[in-house]
Amino acid sequence: MGGKIGGNLVSNVFQNVPYSKELAEVKEKVAELESKQGALEVLVAQIEPNPDQPRKTFNEESIALLACSLEQDGLQHPISVFARGKGKYFLFDGERRWRAARLLKWHSIQALIVPDPKDPRALHRKALLANHHRENMNPLDLAEALVKEIASTGKVGESEVPVLLNTAAKRLLRSKQLSRLTELVAAPCQQQEEGLQALQAEELLTEEEYHVLLVLLSLQLNPHSVNTNIMQSLRLYADLKKAIREKGLGVHQAFALQQLSPKNVNLGEKEAQKLRQRITTTVIDQKLSVADTRKLVSAEKEKAAATSSNDDGVRSHTKATIAKIEKIVVSDLETSELLALEATLAQKLKEIRANLREH
């Protein structure tokens, strides 16, 4: 008998071991997949909206239309929820369908259970992507969500984001290096990082700008385009933002209506807002196009300019002073301040009257 004593004993007896290990791993994987697959009927009453839902715009009319469709043709696409605690589900994707289901007084709705992304950052990012992938998230929601997403890296504050993006975009545009940024949009993650680091090394980007751009690139967004089209919506008046979210005002119409500023319409802030809301309602009710909205806004601006010339050359400087005085909230002032103001105004009034008598 040749060969070492104990020859192939180990390999012989261990023959089946690797196989049984793999088999066990496969069985586990299958069990895991099976438990997660397939939609369940989830009770509508047990579903709550996602606290971090990036989509904040829910047009009533649109939901009503969706409800009609659901009633007629049924739910085409199960919503996605994740479970947290017993009998409690949070929406991950599908708030519009859920709202429509509630309108129809459905008791239960088809839902896919997705794993609970316990980390709130991960939840926000995933929900952002889920909506963004469908391309119908309006720029305002997208802008706010992007700011939040970028700020959540902890490297920049929320209010700094639009400024950093704008500065970076303008700088790259001026130095004709913008194409280097655009190339990175569809590139793999590693390349995006390297590309941005190169720009930073050449002092074309600051470290904070690097972090802002990296997040945008990682979401396959063109930073320049985001700056021009998306971030602008953050500057809209609050009443216009509200109209976008609740009344279905179009974003481009909103930009046009933004032109109705106190300065442009020759009115105080409150009056300008009232005017804006009036025109906005017209735009929404008549479903005006962007072009027609712009026409309407221009008309208002011209009207304002016309009335100001009726004032016979009240120069803007004076108008500003008058506006300032109008803005004073008397009830906010201390007695001492009121006395001082009264004295000044009394004196000024005396001078004005004296001056007028001379004319």
Partner: protein
């Protein structure tokens, strides 16, 4: 840092389970960890190895796993109190034969030991389960309560054969028990290794690469020494009986590995 619960398993008698269990308990306690060694063997050999008087059934693991319920008073007995602090044992006994039936009939069967530990947590850093050399309800209940597994073997045909089948059984049992997370197999520790014996050397040479292939660690062997038996007869670990014996050092890699596992970020079983 959580509680590390180690099951010592083998599929062949005499492979050194109780030796490893008792020596680890001593060495971990010496290193500053608190340890409870639970003897799940009806043979109750921990008592012998630790020089403990035979316990009455009410003061053994059989009482813990009784179908009548458990008061929460763990039957702890100090191990080598004159030499070390923080090491305790819960003794095994013939009563555990009855326990096998209990585990088969109880609605929570395989999870009974795990349940007991959850309802009545122990604050020790480490719990070691010394199991009988069979693949039955007692080792299963230890597995369901464990975070880690250690497999002592003799470098001899029967033990190696047994260990291969043990692994197959383990993988299957993990799936059946749906343990989440699965206990992690620390590795194999060859025992009673005599390098003068050709087959020992040959088998050890084959074993290491084979285990590596399936991602399992093979610790450096604990060498054979007659003094182990002498120490057992005195009811003390080798380190107390003959501290100069070179075999004493052979346990170091194991102790190190367990201490590292203790430090691990992942708290698998946090003590409430």
């Amino acid at each position: 840092m959580g509680q590390l619960r180690l099951t010592i398993l083998s599929n062949a008698g005499g492979s050194g389970k109780t030796t490893v269990a008792t020596h680890l308990s001593y060495l971990l306690a010496k290193a500053g960890c608190s340890v409870v060694l639970m003897d799940l063997d009806p043979q109750g050999s921990v008592s012998l190895f630790a020089g403990l008087p035979r316990a009455s059934v009410e003061h053994t693991m059989a009482a813990v796993l009784s179908s009548k319920g458990f008061s929460g008073k763990w039957p702890l007995v100090p191990l080598w109190p004159d030499h070390v602090n923080g090491a305790y044992a819960c003794q095994g006994e013939l009563g555990l034969v009855e326990t096998i039936t209990t585990l088969s009939q109880h609605k929570r069967g395989a999870y009974l030991l795990s349940d007991r530990l959850e309802d009545h947590p122990l604050s020790s850093d480490v719990i070691i389960f010394d199991c009988p050399a069979t693949l039955g309800p007692l080792p299963v209940s230890a597995l369901a309560a464990s975070t880690h597994i250690l497999i002592p073997i003799q470098v001899e045909p029967k033990s190696i054969d047994g260990s291969a089948k043990l692994l197959e059984w383990l993988f299957q049992t993990f799936v059946e028990l749906r343990l989440q997370p699965k206990p992690s197999i620390i590795g194999f520790v060859p025992n009673q290794f005599d390098r003068r014996v050709a087959i020992h050397r040959n088998l050890l040479d084959q074993l290491k690469p084979m285990l590596e292939k399936i991602g399992m660690r093979c610790f450096a062997p604990i060498r054979y020494s007659t003094e182990f038996k002498n120490a057992t007869s005195q009811g003390v670990p080798l380190h107390l009986f003959r501290p100069t014996n070179p075999a004493c050092r052979d346990f170091q890699p194991l102790v190190k590995s367990i201490k590292e596992a203790l430090k691990d970020e992942e708290t698998l079983w946090a003590v409430k």
